[in-house]
């Protein structure tokens, strides 16, 4: 496959994952769009050879995390209205939309590992390498993140 065709297919196949991960960090669709462009520009310029789609996928995850952390190392930007943005999305159900909003309301240290593990499908060891914390910490954060989601849900029911 020629390089241009390969690159176009890589963008088409992975753009949503990169955008969703960037949104998880930044919680602003315009910023996430910007980061997504930069990630693929880096891919374009990297000249890297990948062993397969999983290798490419993990590389994109890592670069997306680095882009988000480098560009916005500090909470410089106020969070956009998550609910308002979620309202614009065609979610499968209202419950899925609520879950997205609740996950995005979690602090970064919980929501990022949860999205990397439960949405992107990285193992806890892979998440640990990606966000550079010990695997035990990842597991703790996943547990606490789930607990927070649960308490949010119960709080809303009451």
């Amino acid at each position: 496959m020629d390089a241009e065709k390969w690159f176009r297919e890589a963008v088409e196949r992975h753009r949503d994952m990169v955008f969703r991960l960037a949104y998880t960090y930044l919680r602003d669709p315009a910023d996430a769009d910007d980061v997504t462009q930069d990630v693929f520009v880096k891919l374009l310029r990297s000249g890297k050879r990948f062993e397969g789609d999983e290798h490419l996928r993990y590389w994109l995850v890592r670069v997306t995390i680095n882009e988000c952390k480098s560009l916005f190392r500090k909470p410089w930007r106020r969070v956009e209205d998550i609910e308002a943005y979620a309202e614009t999305l065609q979610a499968p159900s209202e419950q899925h939309r609520d879950l997205l909003v609740r996950v995005m309301r979690l602090p970064e240290k919980y929501r990022v590992p949860m999205v990397l593990h439960y949405y992107i499908g990285l193992s806890t060891d892979e998440v640990a390498r990606a966000i550079k914390v010990p695997a035990a910490t990842v597991r703790t954060r996943l547990a606490r993140g789930r607990a927070r989601l649960k308490s949010m849900l119960e709080g809303e029911k009451r």
Partner: protein
């Protein structure tokens, strides 16, 4: 349907469903190609960018060399004062507490002649879609950092949303066709930048402010020429490149174990390479996260640059630049104009990241080497 919050396949399915409606732009490929092409990089094809209309400002440029006097000396007051927003600005992040940024103060008596003489008149302008951007004065240092004052006008209005960014940052509203005012370099290397607007001098149709920037690859990129770019929803326009003729020098500081910091009047840079040389088995992507950074002046006064504990970030942005493990540097652009010759020490604390995933607390005092 009841959402599951316990581990397992159900959680994965729920999470997949939650994200299902969220999509990147359908024209992402075209956007990426346009961005890549416009930054003067490889790849052929026709970038989908707007026609660039540059305006020659020959008369203004004639003032060139003795910029500070010609500009009326307000460059430093515009760039390192309070921008009309008050000295201390606070904001809340998602229930995570109150954050603050304290702007600096400028004492004209403290500005050295050398520093004043380093300000250059850029006189670069671009006009597109009703917007006119004029970049007025520029100051760059030998660390690849810089600041430029500008005026952006549009008779049909400019939509800055004060709810976005840190108070004082110029971030355009979602409904604005203009998305970013940013910096590019002649060699195509990425820039990190922050724009702050001057509240007292800006109106609905005119924004005055300062753009603070640094190059990912350091001073070489700045020397290749600086372009100021208006990024619209579907394309960019850029000024002609401005190649600085003057550079403010930085001063070197070191810890006892050889970690380097460089301080210029407008930036403070921690050298990641020397951190990795001083400590074994550090994770090359991000070997050091700094939580607190301050400088102590010779008269004993302490200037906080960042303090995670107090959630104080007295900077015009910071970034980690360089590639993984190569030429890594942590760059800070303080809100207070610095006088490196009068700094007694730089203090920092943070975490070192090891390859085995363990973190190690790190504390350092940097002293001047000359």
């Amino acid at each position: 349907m009841m959402m599951n919050t316990m581990p397992g396949k159900r959680s994965r399915a729920d999470m997949q469903g939650a994200f299902e409606g969220m999509h990147a732009s359908e024209d992402m490929y075209e956007k990426v190609m346009a961005r890549a092409s416009h930054r003067g990089r490889k790849r052929g094809g026709v970038p989908k960018i707007a026609v660039v209309a540059t305006i020659a400002l020959a008369v203004a440029l004639a003032a060139g060399g003795t910029a500070y006097a010609v500009l009326g000396g307000d460059f430093f007051f515009r760039g390192w004062g309070d921008h009309g927003h008050g000295q201390v600005n606070t904001w809340t992040v998602d229930g995570d507490g109150v954050y603050s940024r304290t702007f600096g103060t400028v004492d004209e008596g403290e500005l050295s002649d050398e520093l004043k003489a380093s300000v250059e008149y850029a006189g670069r302008a671009v006009e597109a879609r009703g917007y006119t951007l004029l970049v007025e004065s520029v100051l760059v240092d030998d660390l690849g950092c810089g600041a430029a004052t500008f005026t952006l006008s549009n008779p049909d209005g400019i939509k800055i949303n004060p709810a976005y960014g840190v108070p004082g940052d110029a971030v355009f509203d979602d409904t604005s066709d203009l998305r970013l005012l940013r910096v590019d370099f002649g060699d195509g290397v990425f820039a990190n930048d922050v724009v702050v607007y001057d509240a007292d001098d800006s109106t609905d149709t005119k924004v005055r402010g300062t753009i603070y920037f640094n190059a990912w690859n350091g001073a070489g990129s700045v020397a290749s020429g600086i372009k100021w770019v208006l990024t619209f929803n579907n394309g960019d326009v850029a000024t002609d490149a401005f190649v600085p003729a003057k550079t403010v020098k930085s001063r070197e500081f070191k810890t006892a174990d050889g970690v380097r910091a460089m301080v210029s009047p407008i930036a403070l840079v921690i050298d990641g390479e020397s951190v990795m040389e001083a400590h074994d088995n550090l994770y090359g992507v991000d070997p050091l996260i700094i939580h607190n950074l301050s400088v102590t002046m010779e008269d004993g006064t302490n200037l906080v640059i960042t303090d995670d504990d107090a959630r104080a970030y007295n900077i015009f942005g910071s970034c980690l630049r360089g590639e993984d493990g190569v030429n890594l540097q942590i760059v800070y652009r303080p809100t207070q104009l610095l006088t490196p010759d009068k700094i007694a020490s730089v203090s920092a604390s943070g975490d070192l990241h090891h390859t085995d995933g363990q973190n190690e607390a790190w504390q350092a005092e940097f002293l001047p080497t000359a």
